[in-house]
Symmetry: C2
Subunit: 175 residues, 2 copies
Amino acid sequence: MNSVYIAISLDGYIATPEDGLEWLNTFPNPSDSDYGYHEFMDRVDALVMGRKTFDIVSAFDPWPYTKKVFVLSRSLKEVPAVLVDQVEIVTGDISAVVKKINRQGYNTLYIDGGQTIQAFLKKNLIDELIISKLPIILGEGIPLFTPQDLSIKFEHCSTEVFEGGLVKSHYKKLK
Amino acid sequence: MNSVYIAISLDGYIATPEDGLEWLNTFPNPSDSDYGYHEFMDRVDALVMGRKTFDIVSAFDPWPYTKKVFVLSRSLKEVPAVLVDQVEIVTGDISAVVKKINRQGYNTLYIDGGQTIQAFLKKNLIDELIISKLPIILGEGIPLFTPQDLSIKFEHCSTEVFEGGLVKSHYKKLK
């Protein structure tokens, strides 16, 4: 199963035009909620992200993930020495990549990063969407969705509202 | 007060590329809910829409509105004879148009149609957003939001979930 877990603005952006995420932290969160992030991560076997997201998160200290990370990249040839146990570079056709990752025993995959999510959606490879909508029109930025030929119906599973006005909706692809 | 009340797909479209709205009726609605439409219309004084939306709704028989409709258009010179009491053409700067409509006693305005909503948002003239999200990725279509210079924060008021997976969220602009 391939899952998306992401926050977006009312106008559908996941980041500012310069990949900025600071706006995500401008909403009141008095009870310091993680909005269900750890609960989600607990049921994830591994992450799949693009080169761009990897470059951003690999600058974090400490490394933010306890689960294995697969980086989809044709250009990246090796990972930093400290991350060789946690990170693996994968390349090629996405369906084949997913099969290869599944064969290694990683079945529930957290698909992250705009371009990677879009590539999965275009191949109808996203099974679950968990979208947290924040009450702001950003005006411009990196969109979660870009035009694609394929229309995909989902089933609404649940919606939760958090302090600060975050509305988290959980969808599963209709079979 | 200027309000938006509209349905969108997960990927933010309000219609297919050819203005199609049939997809809106492909979700189960066993209790024949109007999703709060009449409750909303009851507190609206008038509608403001663009020429394109007017051309679509003016083909409906019977005419679907009981409230006055203002059509924002430079090209439309007169309304069909049967609609002269219900419809008025307005033109010019949007802020001035809104003031003129308000002076006629119409204070709560339902702003409809993609281009008209976008024009109001770009001038920061939308006070309320009521967005009903349907569980489908359309892939392509007419977007509700287009890029704009202005970032606008809203307050989340309420979210309701309806059968068929429609998630309706109500936002008011932060003062």
